[in-house]
């Protein structure tokens, strides 16, 4: 089990990481999601031992790794742009770690065959890595990191440079391979789709702190803060004023009055969920939550309709966006009901 305790790091005198703590359990895939420049890569490099932190500890099975150099940690790292050895063939790249371990040749061959099969690169053994396509290079990088049986596997935006189709395909392969191998993994990305696909657990990094953690559905369903909701683009964000004393609160917004129920399980403590009359809040309204009903509480004109995958994305004149299975007419007046379950409050 990997455990990070209160990691601090600054870059050019500015704090980059301000007290990061989390654990990665055996067989778990943790995704670190955050905008570029949030220090995700630096955190990985600290775990790998390629950089030092100013404060805090990196522990493996309870042992502090501060004095352990990178080559003794047994952590695999897949770099952005892969960092393959350009002077070596695919086989030589993949077997590099095994040769460093002085593994017997027969065993190396066996392992190479196995790994190349796993990443679907059988037959590429003697190709030069500089002749491979981006996706193939990515697979070599993965195979190279996997081959020496690392105790932990880390990925630094590994799919950033690839086009969408290839990314989807590799993402699925990666999911399968991580499952098969059972290696605990930390996956760093700024792309929530990648994170949602791979993560057992999601950590959101912002301003050097972990601002939200949980399973993908927990995080998506209740982002908790305005920043997370905006970063994930999790729904309509609507400012409003509380107009009642007890839940369900009546919240007055530009679009109309919405009901907010802060009694369910939320991110924050129940006590904080109590609102005061007159308080300004930000609401997160799910884009899938609106129902078209004749006696709805919200009414608005349709401003724009675009086809979106299985349905239609409808923009209303009050600024809200909802997805509907059927397309209304532009200029049509809609009356909508927003159930309480589709409304969350943000801080």
């Amino acid at each position: 089990m990997l455990e990070l305790i209160d990691i601090h790091k600054s870059y050019e005198a500015l704090p980059l990481l301000r007290g990061i703590s989390f654990t990665v359990a055996t067989g778990e895939t943790v995704c670190l999601l955050g905008p570029s420049g949030s220090g995700k890569s630096t955190l990985l490099r600290i775990i790998a031992g390629l950089e030092t932190c100013e404060k805090g500890q990196v522990c493996w099975e309870g042992e502090d790794l501060a004095a352990v150099p990178p080559h003794r940690r047994g952590f695999g790292l897949v770099f952005q742009d892969y960092a393959l050895f350009p002077h070596l063939t695919v086989r030589e790249n993949v077997t590099f770690g095994l040769r460093m371990q002085k593994m017997p040749v027969a065993q190396i061959d066996l392992r190479t065959t196995e790994i190349l099969e796993m990443v679907d690169l059988t037959g590429f053994e003697d190709r030069r890595v500089t002749d491979l396509s981006g996706g193939e290079q990515q697979r070599v990088a993965l195979a190279r990191a996997l081959a020496p049986n690392p105790r932990l596997l880390m990925f630094d935006e590994p799919l950033g440079a690839l086009d969408r189709n290839l990314r989807d395909q590799l993402l699925n392969d990666l999911r399968r391979i991580l499952h098969e191998s059972g290696v605990p993994a930390i996956y760093v990305t700024h792309d929530q789709e990648e994170a949602f696909t791979l993560a057992d657990r999601l950590l959101l990094l912002h301003d050097g702190c972990i601002v939200r953690s949980g399973t993908p559905e927990q995080v998506w369903g209740d982002p908790g803060t305005l920043w997370v909701a905006k970063f994930l683009d999790a729904g309509n964000i609507v400012p409003g004023i509380i107009r009642s004393d007890h839940p369900p609160y009546q919240v007055e917004t530009a679009a109309g009055v919405l009901e907010l129920d802060c009694t369910g399980e939320g991110v924050r403590d129940r006590r904080e969920h109590a609102h005061l009359k007159g308080e300004t809040v930000h609401l997160l309204v799910s884009r899938y939550g609106a129902r078209r009903e004749a006696h709805g509480t919200l009414s608005a004109l349709v401003e724009d309709v675009t086809f979106h995958q299985d349905g239609f994305k409808v923009k209303l004149d009050c600024g809200l966006i909802f997805y509907f299975p059927d397309a209304p007419q532009v200029g049509e007046k809609l009356t909508l009901t927003i159930p309480r379950s589709a409304v969350k409050c943000l801080v």
Binding site: R45, A48, G49, L50, P69, P70, H71, R72, R73, G74, F75, G76, L77, F79, D81, A83, L84, F85, P86, H87, F96, G97, M100, Q101, T130, R144, A145, P148
Partner: protein
């Protein structure tokens, strides 16, 4: 409204123009004539001299032994020099490409200066520092009241090696340093995460990635050391002779031209083989890693050990490259010995005597003319060289900037003079031009012709990229905006071409000023150039001769230094590597 524009293929135009095949040949006319007469003909002459039946039968056992001995000496000293150059160059390349420290730009420029300096200046510099009348020896003598110089440096094998390292370290720094600074640091980090300790990272990743550039740098350094002449003649011990020195000795001192021809032949073959090897290394598929910004690799020394190693290296580099360069000019204005005929009264202090003496034609002078005349002669030769090499080089460089089949075919031939050693060229000149139609040996024009030949490849190579860099769309844009062809040329071509021409001209000028190898064979005693005069002063006894050598070498150094500075200023970004 519609006015027919005359087209180049209209019959009217065709009648007056030259046949179609003439146009591509035209720019090559001058250079072909020139190189034919002054390169291929003399080289052919040497080949014939070494290979004709009469000379082959005249070769006896002792000349074969001599040839083998000097060949081995050449290999030995060049090999050892190259190893030492690598030993200093590799750590320095690493230092420059990986560490940020104060004065780095200065140190980088400093290490590059010697490569452009004339050999006589370097020899004089080391002489001023470590020679029998140099700072170190005189200082030690004064300190410990010694009668003789305690350190023997000039005339040793070590002096040759040291001067070669001084000269060529910059090649290693540039070639290997370039690759080093572009290495993706994450390649090495990937190896670390895969279980490589620092030593294994170096062995399995860094060195293999550097190998092509280390090989190229080593071979280039080896070629320069192998063909080195001035350094060995001026700093080596009298009996020490490499091929290059032996050619000179056989031709000038022994008047054994057939043997000199044979040695030249061996020298030519060797440099040909090395050049082929070098171009093959360059052509070999370079390992391409993702292009990185060089800045990414730069870090500051962190641990105490790193700081100590860095400081020691920086101080050593400063001392090694700065001391010879400073010793020379300071020595040229400092009196450190007794006057003529007053052995005991050592006078020390600043003096301008060494300079004023340059203007006086003493009866016992080494020259028929005041030494100062050498400066005038050198300047004249250099001006002629600039004129000739630009006249011949410009059309060729323009043609090469838009290469056709002809250009690709002839391009490598232009670079051939680079491979032939200067002494071989000089020998070719004196054996080829001693009778009509080109009886030039007794004329003062042989030297500038030789200099032009040596400068020509550099002139072409500095003009060509500039001329090629002018994009046609720029011209078309200017024309579309209403500029006449003349104005297009003035607005688009001239600013770039003018700069490149000036730079090429300065290049030719400094090459001619400092040229020593060919000059030592073709220069007439009554028309000495500066390097020849300096070499003669250095070989003569007496404090005044020594001082004059220092004075003249200082003048030469300053002029060449100014030239280097100008060329650097005029250099287009991204051009001018080896």
């Amino acid at each position: 409204m519609f006015k027919p524009v005359p087209r180049s293929d209209s019959p009217m135009r065709n009648r007056t123009s030259l046949p179609a095949w003439v146009k591509p040949v035209l720019p090559w006319l001058g250079v072909s004539l020139f190189m034919g007469a002054f390169f291929f003909y003399p080289i052919a002459h040497i080949l014939w001299m070494g290979l004709n039946p009469a000379s082959i039968t005249s070769i006896d056992r002792s000349s074969v032994n001599l040839a083998i001995r000097s060949l081995l000496t050449s290999f030995y000293q060049a090999g050892l020099s190259t190893l030492l150059t690598l030993a200093l160059g590799l750590p320095t390349a690493f230092l420059f490409s990986h560490y940020a420290f104060k004065g780095k730009l200065f140190l980088r420029a400093l290490t590059a200066i010697p490569f452009m300096l004339p050999t006589v200046v370097v020899a004089a510099g080391f002489n001023a520092l470590l020679g029998p009348r140099g700072w170190v020896n005189l200082g030690l003598m004064d300190l410990f009241h010694l009668q003789n110089a305690p350190i023997t440096f000039v005339g040793t094998f070590g002096a040759i090696l040291m001067a070669h390292v001084f000269y060529n370290t910059t090649i290693v720094i540039r070639l290997v340093g370039n690759t080093l600074s572009r290495l993706d640091p994450r390649t090495e980090q990937a190896a670390q995460t895969l279980g490589s300790n620092p030593w294994q990272v170096l062995r399995h990743v860094t060195l293999p990635l550097l190998r092509p550039s280390i090989l190229a740098a080593s071979l280039l350094v080896f070629i320069f050391d192998f063909t080195s002449f001035g350094v060995i003649l001026l700093l080596g011990k009298p009996g020490f002779s490499t091929l290059e020195v032996e050619i000179y000795r056989q031709a000038i001192q022994m008047f054994n031209l057939p043997l000199a021809g044979l040695l030249s032949l061996i020298q030519l073959l060797c440099t040909l083989v090395f050049s082929i090897l070098y171009s093959r290394i360059l052509r070999r598929d370079p390992v391409t890693s993702a292009p990185r910004s060089a800045q990414e690799n730069i870090r500051k020394a962190q641990t105490v050990l790193q700081k100590i190693i860095l400081s020691v290296l920086v101080v050593f580099l400063l001392a090694f490259f700065l001391l010879p360069l400073i010793s020379l000019p300071v020595r040229s204005i400092t009196r450190l010995e007794a006057d003529r005929g007053a052995r005991d009264q050592v006078r020390t202090g600043f003096t301008g005597d060494y300079y004023s003496e340059l203007f006086i034609n003493r009866r016992e002078s080494l020259f028929y003319v005041p030494p100062f005349t050498a400066i005038a002669i050198s300047t004249g030769y250099a001006a002629l060289t600039v004129l000739l090499s630009l006249l011949i080089g410009f059309p060729v460089a323009s043609a090469l900037a838009r290469p056709g089949r002809m250009e690709r075919l002839l391009d490598p031939l232009l670079m051939l003079p680079l491979g032939a050693s200067a002494v071989t060229l000089g020998l070719g000149f004196i054996v080829s031009f001693n009778r009509p139609p080109l009886a030039l040996v007794n004329s003062p024009f042989l030297a500038p012709l030789a200099h032009t030949l040596i400068a020509l490849p550099f002139v072409i190579r500095s003009l060509q990229p500039a001329l090629a860099s002018i994009p046609d769309p720029l011209r078309q844009a200017a024309a579309a905006l209403g500029a006449s062809p003349v104005r297009v040329w003035a607005a688009v071509d001239w600013p770039i071409v003018g700069r490149a021409t000036l730079s090429a001209g300065v290049f030719a000028f400094t090459i001619s000023l400092g040229e020593f190898g060919a000059s030592s064979l073709v220069v007439r005693p009554e028309y000495p150039t500066m390097p020849i005069a300096i070499a003669r002063f250095l070989s003569q006894p007496g404090g005044m001769n020594y001082g004059q050598a220092m004075a003249m070498a200082t003048i030469l150094m300053l002029v060449c230094g100014l030239g280097i500075l100008l060329i650097e200023r005029l250099r287009l970004p991204g051009t001018g590597e080896f």
